[in-house]
């Protein structure tokens, strides 16, 4: 009776395991097809719609700012809620080495177009960073509601219509003359695309300036996007989009940034403590506003979160590149990649070399493991006997196995630490490969021409699956449970499907990782087989002499 009960229980747990695997598998596929893809399409559609609506709007009379009717209760409530996105008249265009900057009649950066070849979208058009309807960098809002209302009606004047900053810095002055005050923005724009800003009003005024809403090129669930503040102690405050329920005030801020996966807009001054309000917009996404009294000096950057470019401006500015939870491992990981890249000059090979390096460091550990795993093969019958005897009690079986290992002097288990360590390392690599703009548009060999995108012909994921299968085949297995073994056999297939849509760089990492493991295992197996033959011959020889 007890026996049947146990077998029943076992079948149940096996069923549970199988069902759990299938459900999670189905979930991920379903999520990708039913949620992610439609969402991306929807985003595209709304963007088009917004652009159309905007066109119609600008043909009609200028929008009256909604702020007029609002009570002037607090600065925070006063400042936002104006979306003066009409009247998009461009008053100045600046060409830098890497981009075209357009300034509109509200004295804001209306659009930035990245002109280098690397930054082209799938249709081979130059990438534009901003969505027309969103808050723009350098938009100013006055504390005084009346002044503010006027500021959104009166157009600003630029000192020059066309400027070329592609070889040396240029100066541009934007002036907005209101009835009570005059707002001047003195801009120095540098060839690398960053700018210095001297902002002042002719009389005492409280107002806000914003780095704008985040660039909207690639904002998906794979990486964070939202607002990031660098505090004066170097720590970060990150608010993701659709996560800000109410406005929040911050003091002692050195930089305010808004970012998507690859691009960021940032206003900073590392010598001064700024006061910043994060406003929740209609989607509950954060918009940063820097408080200014009368005048201020700031610097700004809008463009790709390129490590070297940011580092050249200010080392602290590199914090704008963030990798989420695993930043503490991801950052050194990236520095290592960058270091190798400086020698190799190709990101694909850089990943290959890094993977092999990591494997080499772990070689002593893994080698020992493989050898003892092989020794275990010889103990297989004894282990099977134990597992059959205590098939209903895992802990008891493990105890008797441990006794066996002790008497044989071989402990084949890899240990919990390597497995636990692997998890953050994998996530760190994942985040680096997904977040690093350096990999965007960088090719490896043959058909892989963008390591940050999926493999267009699914070659790498399939290679990865194959190596994983081979690895399983040549690794002596100690899983005796049939159902578990079956699940294990299906793992390569599951992984292949997972990796089909992953960035090619990550799949490459996993593939090389498997490849090294397989060759190492092959080598160990061969040596072990040789040793076995040698031992056997020695045994025969001694037997022979004994017989004599």
């Amino acid at each position: 009776m007890g026996m049947t009960n146990n077998t029943l229980n076992k079948e149940n747990t096996q069923k549970k395991i199988l069902i759990a695997t299938i459900i999670s598998f189905a979930f991920f596929i379903g999520y990708d097809f039913l949620y992610l893809q439609p969402q991306q399409e929807l985003a595209k559609q709304t963007q088009q719609k917004e652009a159309q609506a905007l066109k119609q709007q600008s043909e009609q009379t200028p929008l009256v700012s909604q702020i007029a009717g609002e009570a002037n209760s607090s600065a925070a409530n006063n400042a936002p809620s104006v979306h003066a996105n009409n009247a998009n008249e461009i008053i100045s265009t600046i060409k830098t080495k890497t981009s075209n900057i357009e300034i509109d009649s509200f004295g804001r950066i209306a659009q930035i177009t990245l002109t280098t070849h690397r930054f082209q979208n799938e249709q081979h058009n130059a990438i534009k960073l901003f969505t027309p309807s969103q808050l723009k960098p350098l938009e100013v809002r006055f504390f005084d509601a009346k002044v503010n209302e006027e500021a959104f009606k009166i157009k600003a004047q630029a000192s020059s219509k066309v400027l070329d900053a592609s070889s040396e810095p240029v100066k541009l002055t934007i002036t907005q003359t209101l009835s009570t005050t005059t707002l001047t923005k003195d801009l120095t724009i540098y060839p690398d695309g960053h700018y210095d800003l001297d902002i002042a009003t002719s009389n005492k005024q409280n107002y806000f300036i914003t780095p704008g809403f985040r660039p909207d090129v690639l904002a998906d669930v794979y990486a964070d996007h939202g607002s990031l503040l660098i505090k004066n102690d170097g720590t970060l405050n990150i608010v993701e989009d659709e996560d800000l329920d109410s406005n929040a005030e911050f003091v002692g801020i050195h930089a305010a940034s808004a970012f998507d996966r690859y691009y960021a807009t940032v206003l900073y001054n590392f010598d001064k403590n700024l006061q910043v309000t994060l406003m929740s917009n209609k989607d509950k996404s954060p918009e940063a506003f820097i408080h200014i009294m009368n005048n201020a000096k700031l610097s700004g950057y809008v463009g790709p979160k390129d490590y070297n470019a940011l580092n050249a401006l200010d080392e602290k500015l590199t914090s704008v590149i963030e990798y989420g939870w695993f930043t503490f491992i991801a950052k050194p990981m990236f520095s290592m990649l960058q270091y190798i890249y400086n020698y190799v000059g190709n990101w694909g090979w850089t990943i290959v070399i890094l993977t092999i390096l990591v494997k080499l460091i772990l070689l002593p550990l893994s080698h020992k493991g493989m050898v003892s795993m092989n020794r275990l093969k010889e103990l297989a019958p004894k282990i099977k006997a134990i597992q059959e005897k205590y098939s209903d009690d895992k802990q008891k079986a493990s105890m008797h196995m441990m006794e066996l290992y002790k008497s044989e002097g071989a402990n084949p288990m890899g240990g919990c630490l390597p497995i636990i360590l692997q998890i953050p390392v994998f996530f760190a690599i994942y985040r680096v490969l997904i977040n690093a703009i350096e990999l965007k548009g960088s090719e490896w060999i043959l058909w892989i021409n963008d390591l940050s995108e999926m493999d267009p012909y699914y070659v790498l994921p399939i290679l990865m699956g194959v190596t994983m299968y081979v690895q399983q085949r040549i690794t002596p297995s100690q899983i005796q449970d049939e159902m578990q073994q079956k699940i294990f056999q299906w793992l390569p297939v599951v992984f292949t499907v997972f990796f089909l849509w992953f960035p090619a760089g990550l799949t490459l990492y996993w593939f090389i990782n498997n490849l090294v493991t397989v060759s190492q295992q092959y080598y160990v197996n061969k040596i072990f087989a040789k040793e076995k033959i040698a031992r056997h011959e020695k045994h025969l020889a001694t037997k022979h002499t004994n017989e004599k």
């Binding site: 759990a20 493991g369 802990q395 493990s398 441990m402 002790k406 402990n411 288990m413 919990c416 636990i420």
Partner: protein, 110 residues
């Protein structure tokens, strides 16, 4: 606090350990060790011992039998038939090794 950790460990044992199955070099396994620690010790000690255990669960260490050591004061001793959950093996003073009684849920035991 300990309850939170215990529920995390239970979740791990139920769902995640399938992937990492059979890799622990110790008996009882790291997760079981942690569980007992969080049941007997205060959070700080339990965390410390668990961390040390996981850190030493790799190829550089022997592995083998390693039972959790706990501090425990035995009071209110009731002399009657009970269900045995743990065996406490005294080391010294109030310190004990804890060995879980794996057969505790079996009815046909004598």
């Amino acid at each position: 606090m300990n309850r939170i950790f215990l529920s995390i460990i239970n979740f791990y044992q139920k769902y995640i350990s399938i992937i990492s199955h059979g890799s622990c070099r110790y008996h009882p396994t790291c997760s079981e060790y942690a569980k007992i620690n969080f049941q007997f010790n205060n959070t700080f000690y339990a965390l410390y011992f668990t961390l040390i255990r996981i850190l030493s669960c790799n190829k550089l260490f022997e592995g083998g039998f390693d039972y959790p050591k706990v501090k425990y004061k035995i009071n209110n001793v009731i002399f009657k038939k009970i269900k045995i959950k743990f065996w406490l093996i005294p080391i010294n003073n109030d310190k004990y090794y804890v060995i879980k009684n794996w057969d505790r849920n079996r009815q046909n035991i004598k």
